[in-house]
């Protein structure tokens, strides 16, 4: 069952069973709601931004172990990061998922454990769900503030 262990590394199962950063933020600076068209899974992502920094991030919604672990890892790795840094991390993660980048543990933290997902195209969508939600949340935050919100 080598393939399975490759995919479901211990770190992933650990994040899945003990999700970090779960829930919602009352007074979020930006909130987005994404869904995975393949399985219907949903992700609610909230960020609280201060001085261009993610001071709080929470992800909610049900999903498979990969999507839950990915969300859990995301909330850890981008916590307290500057918005541009966060976007850079998301982009690096996205490229790793598409097999376009050598994974960099300094950027990704625990999320490097998701590297094996890249071999399972359908599951790539699961892993990316919350991460791309963050990208959209940042874009939406910037749009609102640019318009004086």
């Amino acid at each position: 069952m080598g393939g399975l262990d490759d995919l479901y590394q211990q770190l992933i199962l650990d994040h899945y069973r003990n999700r970090r950063g779960r829930g919602r933020i009352e007074n979020a600076s930006a909130s987005v709601h994404e869904h995975n068209p393949v399985c219907g899974d949903e992700c609610f992502l909230d960020i609280l931004v201060e001085d261009n920094r993610i001071v709080e991030i929470r992800a909610d919604g049900d999903g498979c172990s990969i999507s839950q672990a990915a969300a859990s890892m995301l909330t850890e790795v981008v916590a307290d990061k500057d918005l541009n840094e966060a976007l850079e991390i998301v982009e690096h993660f996205r490229r790793m998922m598409h097999g376009d980048a050598e994974p960099d543990e300094d950027l990704l933290g625990d999320a490097i454990a998701l590297e094996g997902v890249a071999k399972y195209p359908v599951r790539v969508k699961c892993a990316l769900l919350s991460w791309l939600a963050l990208r959209d949340a940042i874009a939406s935050y910037r749009e609102t503030t640019a318009h004086g919100g």
Binding site: L13, R17, G40, D41, C64, I66, V122
Partner: protein, 415 residues
């Protein structure tokens, strides 16, 4: 045919006729293919028929004077004849399409986009596949008509009284699935068709999951339209069918325009060929019709009654076997007489994606997701399910492998 003379199908012997089950997988994993509701495997005779067509008599159909073209036309039209015979329908009223989805869209566009008016109503059930929902939504949004959904009980049955109450003087079309691809429910389609006809509405029966698995008599169902698809009935991809009443087809304006479907074309306008060709524009799926014909002959030789009996028995076994898995909940009817062998379930908090992935590592192929039936998922209160589904080649071992893998899966994910 290698099946025994006994009434029951010999699934093990049948497997020997399917190349997919004959060759070992490169990594040595067994193959317990339980995703036939998504697409079926193909017997060698179907591949042989298509290869022979390409090798011996490949030519474009219907207009060629030379012998090879006439032979190509014969083999192509034989596929239509076989498909029509299987469902007891007149061959001239069987339109070949690329899949069941196109067949439904044909009616939605050719009839609906032209005939529907503001305030008209199309009634579907909450149990429909997206292919029997979205085409109606599209033409409704173009014409001002409305799509109404007949409710489905949490046990996975259409509420017939509520459906009856929904059908009224504004109802122009009632569209319902014969057998649910998610729950396996067999719907009382004759009753539904009668209800609709009493109200003067047309009817569309989605027989995509019934035609491959049981005797279906389109004439006795009596719907105006009935669709099915080749790849789920041991046939190739790229072909489906619309069986319509001949009067309806004659009365309808065409859908796709182009070669083959015309009688005359002038710069002023065009006139149409006879049915069914009036609805078949362009070069048809020729080899695919040949393959479909071979698939029908294969099913006929097995006998659709016996195919249904195998399906019933497999459903029963599956429901019993799954019932023994701790934490597993079966969705939909549990009486095997009232369902097909597509069985959806949930397993504690383990997500369907994880189940399907784990099962794959044991050689068990199942589907996880919304099964193109998101409105039904909402009724069931879930985002996705895991579905195991069978066909004539499904054996007891497949079901036992499924059961065993599910038990292991549950503990692996620590549920």
């Amino acid at each position: 045919m290698t099946t025994t003379g006994s009434p029951a199908l010999d699934a093990r012997a049948i497997r020997a006729e399917f190349p997919m089950f004959v060759a070992p997988r490169p990594d040595g994993r067994p193959l317990h293919y339980l995703d036939s509701a998504a697409t079926s495997q193909k017997p060698q005779v179907v591949l042989d028929a298509m290869n022979a067509y390409y090798r011996e008599t490949n030519a474009n159909v219907h207009r060629g004077v030379y012998e090879m073209a006439a032979e190509a036309t014969d083999r192509f039209e034989f596929g239509r004849t076989a498909a029509a015979r299987l469902i007891n329908h007149p061959r001239e009223a069987l339109v070949l399409t690329k899949n069941a989805t196109e067949a439904i869209n044909l009616v939605a566009w050719a009839w609906g986009a032209r005939e529907l008016r503001e305030g008209d109503e199309i009634v579907v059930t909450e149990m429909e596949h997206h292919s029997n929902i979205v085409p109606w939504q599209i033409v409704a949004s173009m014409t001002g008509a409305k799509v109404l959904f007949a409710p489905v009980t949490p046990q996975g049955e259409v509420e017939l009284d509520a459906l009856r109450a929904l059908i009224g003087p504004c109802t122009r079309m009632v569209a319902a699935v014969h057998v649910s691809n998610v729950l396996g429910t067999i719907n009382p389609v004759r009753e539904i068709v009668e209800m609709a006809h009493q109200a003067g509405a047309l009817t569309m029966i989605d027989a995509t999951q019934s035609v491959p698995h049981m005797p279906v008599d389109a004439t006795s169902i009596g719907s105006d339209f009935l669709v099915f698809t080749g790849h789920k009935m041991l046939g190739p991809t790229g072909i489906g069918a619309l069986a319509a009443s001949p009067e309806r087809l004659n009365a309808m304006e065409p859908f796709l325009g182009g070669g083959e479907m015309i009688s005359d074309v002038t710069t002023e306008g065009s006139t149409w060929a006879e049915i069914p060709w009036k609805f078949e524009a362009g070069t048809p799926p020729i080899a695919e019709a040949v393959g479909l014909g071979a698939a029908v002959e294969y099913l006929e030789a097995l006998g659709m009654d016996r195919v249904r009996e195998h399906e019933r028995a497999t459903a029963e076994l599956m429901i019993n076997a799954l019932g023994e898995v701790p934490g597993l909940t079966i969705l939909g009817p549990t009486d095997p007489d009232r369902r097909g062998a597509a069985v959806s379930f949930t397993l504690d908090a383990v997500h369907p994606h994880d189940i399907a992935q784990f099962l794959d590592s044991k050689g068990v192929c199942v589907r996880a997701g919304h099964h193109c039936a998101k409105p039904l998922m909402r009724v069931l209160g879930t985002q996705s399910t895991t579905r195991a589904s069978a066909h004539v080649y499904t054996t007891d071992e497949d079901i036992l492998a499924l059961q065993g893998a599910l038990i292991e899966c549950r503990s692996w994910f620590g549920a």
